[in-house]
């Protein structure tokens, strides 16, 4: 049966046509799988973005009686959300690989998550090593913009 994968590169199509890829999009009659994975992806996103927002607002000067080290526990939750989204994201990707792999919105989203993630680490290192506060705040603003961009491009993936 042809599900419409016209990708010339064989590997991409074989992943999309694999049992996992087919299962994700409910081709076995398991219609609950796709909304369930999407829900997990939504929950993980709110968690990651929530922690990113709360942390960067603190870095930018809001609620600054909260010690930076007190955020350690929130970062654990943020990482849990990130892993949830990595797994659910890979599943969602597997069933529509030929659509998303070459889509500008998806590529931009991946780049923004990578940049946003690296900047979180850069900000934390800067705070620990006592880097110039203005510089850290600037990086924090770029970090927030990058994660916000990831949400925007993620939503656009469904439309483009």
């Amino acid at each position: 049966m042809d599900f419409g994968c016209f990708e010339p590169v064989g590997l991409v199509c074989s992943i999309e046509m694999s049992p996992v890829g087919q299962w994700v999009y409910g081709y076995y009659g398991n219609f609950w799988a796709y909304p369930a994975i999407l829900s997990a992806h939504g929950l993980g996103m709110m968690t990651v973005m929530g922690v990113v927002l709360a942390f960067n607002m603190r870095v930018l000067g809001f609620a600054n009686n909260i010690s930076i080290s007190a955020y350690d526990r929130l970062f654990m939750i943020g990482w849990a959300g990130f892993i949830l989204n990595l797994v659910s994201g890979l599943l969602l990707l597997s069933g529509a690989l030929s659509t998303f792999l070459y889509q500008g919105a998806f590529q931009l989203k991946m780049a923004m998550i990578l940049l946003g993630g690296i900047l979180m680490k850069v900000i934390m290192n800067g705070i620990r090593s006592g880097r110039d506060e203005k510089m850290t705040m600037l990086i924090s603003a770029v970090c927030l913009a990058s994660w916000t961009g990831a949400i925007i491009t993620g939503r656009l993936m469904a439309y483009l």
């Binding site: 709110m46 968690t47 809001f62 609620a63 007190a70 526990r73 916000t148 939503r155």
Partner: protein, 162 residues
């Protein structure tokens, strides 16, 4: 939710409803705003509720409470974007079972938040960093997180149970 249908129909006929159907961008922008608003709300609740529950109990309680206005901003963004969704298609949401449960839970979450603010806030802000909150306050905070997690899941299920 038939009692709300006249309101939904009025929204659908309003300028916002007409504009959201004419423009290709209003709906998707409202969706993006809805995600961002929920991140603000959920992130703020993670700070407050995880502090109260005790998981992140070294967060300064008084400062954690500063996230309450941020949560309200997030909720306001989602109320407005949510109204935009209904205006764009007033027939779609009322009969949707996931929407009905979601709205019910949002109201319960609101009542829970009011209890938190008027019943527990005063005592909680006296907590020193690392100090445990009362059991009752912990229950309220845990319930808050659980309700919003289910709200997020129900929201994502809405297009699939039509």
């Amino acid at each position: 939710m038939e009692f709300l249908q006249p309101t939904f129909d009025w929204l659908g006929a309003s300028a916002l409803g007409v504009a959201s159907r004419d423009s290709a961008w209003i709906f998707v922008t409202a969706e993006t705003a809805h995600f961002f608003g929920l991140s603000l709300l959920f992130g703020s609740l993670l700070v407050i509720d995880l502090r109260v529950v005790g998981f992140a109990r070294f967060i300064n309680m008084r400062d954690a409470m500063k996230f309450i206005p941020i949560a309200i901003v997030g909720f306001a963004i989602n109320l407005l974007s949510g109204i935009t969704f209904i205006a764009s298609n007033p027939e779609r949401y009322g009969p949707n079972i996931a929407f009905q449960w979601k709205m019910g839970l949002v109201i319960i979450a609101g009542l829970n938040a009011l209890w938190f603010y008027f019943g527990e806030h005063k005592d909680l802000v006296k907590l020193a960093d690392g100090e445990d909150a009362e059991f009752r306050a912990k229950v309220i905070a845990a319930v808050s997180l659980m309700i919003w997690i289910v709200v997020i899941i129900l929201g994502r299920f809405m297009p699939f149970v039509e």
